[in-house]
């Protein structure tokens, strides 16, 4: 058996992505709980652990989304710092992995590596880092470093950052030290540090990455343990797996070295019929009339509040100006008119109102699994059988009870089919994901 041939594990796992600040999270239902109170987080992470979920993810946005120059008011706004919340959750959980989304542009490698090591040690080897990168000065306005990068440079910067972090995590010779001195002098930062923390029970934090461009995929194939992918649909997932296997083999890592967990949403009920009805209810709360108008305003670059959400798309044209695409807004500039024409035609063709059209654009058609518990379980078992994915990263649409039906009904169905863990394999995230322990790299052994 060669390590260049992909071997399906026959299993899938679940992660939960507590995302918060977009239209996916329903705040208007009676059952919608607090997005900031610790009890919401405790409830959902403990539900996930009851369902043997591998990981709990927190997202991060370092500047509030804006809409027409002011903070966006219509979706959930504001969330806790990822690592602080995860350190607290480590105290009330035993097995689940704790994944912090952290930005390479607005952090220092030595400081971030130290804090992630801290989380890894405090949690007994359950920490992970979802590596993200930003290149805009708009977010940088909240930071001393400003942090503007050329778009082309951002993966170069991110990779140097990740490699420096790995050298820091590799630096202790044994569990008790001594630590090797780490020096990095690069285009974007300089690091000169004697790392202060030992390796954790899982060696070092697990790395997640979500880039989808060819560059992003290569970066993940070289550096990541798990890809948080945007390809949950079956055929698409199979194709993405093929692509990642070839990239990771080309990068000198095994065909099974990089796992894949796509983002997904589940709308489930006892019968398919009920699930479809539930879906209509979920969508109506995700995209309300105000959100539908606001969505178009992002692309039109102007206020459209006088338009009827249940009527046709606006006949007026977008404001054509060269604004930054980074303001949490959609596309502006010369192509905006073209896009508006296209959308008007599409909506007319399908007979959609503003609200119907925006729902069709924003709903995660590809990433939503709707149906009865048993039908969805059958479908997921097929993913497991061919190894299309290693698991799904589920975004609950309701906080904090959004996992309850998954844990109570879907997980047992999957367990019956033998495609989902019935117990945690170990106490560390790396063990539970079935990842190999990293080998200490020569790079970090070299004394600088």
């Amino acid at each position: 058996m060669t390590r260049d041939i992909f071997q399906p594990s026959g299993q899938i796992q679940f992660g939960i992505f507590f995302q918060g600040v977009n239209s996916g999270t329903i705040w208007k239902a009676e059952e919608s709980g607090s997005q900031t109170d610790f009890e919401s987080f405790r409830h959902i992470v403990q539900s996930a652990e009851r369902g043997k979920f591998a990981a709990f993810f927190l997202g991060e946005g370092l500047r509030l989304r804006e809409h027409l120059g002011r903070p966006h008011a219509l979706d959930v706004v504001g969330r806790p710092d990822a690592q602080t919340m995860l350190a607290a959750l480590a105290a009330v959980t035993r097995n689940i992995g704790l994944v912090a989304t952290q930005n390479t542009t607005y952090n220092d490698p030595a400081d971030l590596a130290h804090r992630l090591s801290s989380l890894d040690l405090i949690s007994g080897g359950r920490a992970a880092w979802n590596v993200v990168t930003t290149d805009n000065a708009w977010t940088g306005a909240n930071f001393r470093r400003g942090g503007y990068l050329d778009h082309a440079d951002r993966y170069k910067h991110a990779e140097a950052f990740v490699e420096t972090a790995k050298r820091i995590w590799d630096s202790w010779e044994t569990a008790n030290g001594p630590a090797r001195h780490i020096r990095h002098e690069g285009q974007h930062y300089t690091v000169d540090v004697t790392p202060r923390l030992p390796r954790s029970a899982q060696y070092r934090p697990v790395l997640f990455q979500a880039g989808d461009s060819p560059e992003g995929r290569d970066f993940a194939a070289r550096q990541a343990d798990v890809i948080f992918s945007a390809h949950p649909k079956f055929d698409d997932a199979v194709e993405f797996r093929r692509d990642i296997v070839s990239r990771s083999v080309a990068a000198g890592r095994g065909a099974n070295a990089v796992q894949i967990m796509p983002a997904s949403e589940f709308i489930l009920a006892a019968t398919d019929q009920e699930a479809q009805e539930k879906k209509a209810w979920v969508r109506s709360l995700q995209i309300g009339p105000q959100q539908a108008i606001a969505y178009l305003e992002q692309f039109w670059g102007r206020e459209l509040s006088s338009y009827d959400p249940d009527g046709p798309l606006p006949e007026i044209d977008p404001v054509v100006e060269e604004t930054s695409e980074t303001r949490g807004s959609g596309f502006h500039g010369a192509k905006a008119r073209q896009l508006a024409d296209q959308w008007r035609a599409e909506a007319k063709d399908k007979g959609l109102s503003i609200r119907g059209f925006v729902t069709s654009k924003t709903a995660r058609i590809d990433s939503t699994f709707t149906g009865s518990y048993s039908a969805v379980a059958d479908h997921l078992a097929e993913y497991a059988r061919v190894g299309a994915v290693d698991g799904f990263n589920i975004s609950p649409w309701l906080i904090p009870t959004g996992l309850d039906d998954i844990v109570n009904h879907l997980v047992p169905e999957l367990q019956e089919r033998g495609v989902y863990p019935t117990e945690y394999r170990g106490t560390t995230l790396r063990e539970n994901l079935g990842l190999e322990t990293p080998v200490r790299s020569e790079e970090s052994v070299r004394v600088s």
Partner: protein, 353 residues
């Protein structure tokens, strides 16, 4: 806050010595002993994990004790630490505080590729970071999250504020600005209490009104009472005074003197001796200061003696307060509700609306 000659004081304990492996046991023992505050040191040292995360871990497993980490202000991003501390307040149910530090550390500077900051510039860094932190905490009014289904608004956007911080003209380091608003709603306490070493606070340093309490040290226990009185005189009554004391107790059949060998010189006053002797000293210090922070030589050994022999006796004498069930750290310090500098509600009230 006032000088409290006849009021009972509070006790804090530094739990750095517990590390991370014994953290839960240590913080629960400190809480059940009746300590009001647990602090977590964070200067670079081999094996020491991030203090803010240790405090966060302690938050959900405790109910009464305040959890207060040291967080550096010189080599950190003010926006990040503001968000982290606000989050700590959420996970601890309003029991968080911040010991703002600004130590000279060429090692920390090199780790992040910066020039080492020294002298008066250190206090400038601390003052700027504290100001950023406080503005960001106020940048959401308490009632900003409205969840108004009728209008589809989750927040009232008029109750979020850009903070537009800029470093002052005489700032010695590289100037910077912070836009805001915060990426997390206002902390449960509104403003977390901010503590700093008394040596960092004063004219030309961190302004006294930027902190809620100062940590006062003296070379010996004898000099400590006089130092507390001095600090109180120049600082006024608005800032709480917390005395710093290293403690080594006779324990488990071993004299404190014999245990001293292992401890290092901290620059703080040190008490070494019997539980009865320590009780006398704390009794007198608590009449001068608002609180005392105890630095045990060995957390597990000394905490056991403190819990068994010292704290019960201090409570019996009336010099130590009972912990406040479900209280906030502001309650421990006797601080009222935190005003919000950006409050539109207050402006509306003033305008008679």
């Amino acid at each position: 806050m006032s000088s409290n000659n006849n009021q009972a004081g509070f006790l804090a304990i530094e739990l750095d010595g517990a590390g991370y492996a014994n953290l839960a046991g240590a913080v629960l023992a400190a809480e059940s002993a009746g300590f009001h505050v647990a602090t977590f040191k964070d200067a670079p040292a081999a094996g020491r994990v991030n203090a803010l995360q240790r405090a966060a871990f302690a938050g959900p497993i405790t109910r009464t004790i305040a959890v207060v980490p040291e967080v550096d202000t010189v080599y950190t991003e003010p926006s990040h630490i503001s968000t982290q501390l606000a989050s700590l307040d959420y996970v601890s149910g309003g029991r968080a505080g911040w010991i703002a530090t600004a130590a000279e550390s060429p090692e920390s500077a090199a780790a992040v590729g910066r020039t080492s900051v020294e002298g008066a510039a250190l206090a400038q860094e601390a003052a700027a970071s504290i100001e950023v932190g406080r503005r960001l905490w106020d940048s959401w009014e308490d009632d900003a999250v409205i969840r108004d289904v009728a209008t589809g608004r989750y927040i009232d956007v008029d109750k979020l504020h850009y903070v537009d911080f800029e470093t002052p003209a005489d700032f010695a380091g590289t100037p910077y600005s912070v836009k805001g608003p915060s990426i997390i709603p206002r902390p449960l306490q509104g403003q977390l209490p901010v503590l700093a070493a008394a040596s960092l606070v004063g004219e030309g340093l961190v302004p006294a009104d930027a902190v809620d309490a100062v940590l006062v040290s003296a070379p010996t226990a004898e000099l400590l009472a006089a130092e507390i009185r001095d600090v109180r005189t120049w600082l006024g009554a608005a800032v709480a005074v917390i005395a710093e004391l290293d403690v080594v107790l006779d324990s488990r059949g071993q004299d404190a003197g014999a245990r001293l060998v292992a401890s290092t010189d901290s620059g703080r006053a040190r008490f070494a001796g019997s539980a009865a002797g320590l009780t006398e000293l704390l009794d007198s210090l608590l009449r001068e200061a608002d609180g005392v922070r105890v630095h045990p030589a060995e957390v597990d050994v000394d905490l056991e003696e403190l819990a068994r022999l010292v704290l019960p006796e201090l409570r019996r004498r009336g010099s130590l307060r009972e912990p406040i069930q479900d209280g906030t750290f502001r309650d421990v310090l006797g601080l009222g509700p935190a005003q919000n500098r950006y409050s539109t509600s207050a402006a509306a009230v003033a305008a008679g609306k």
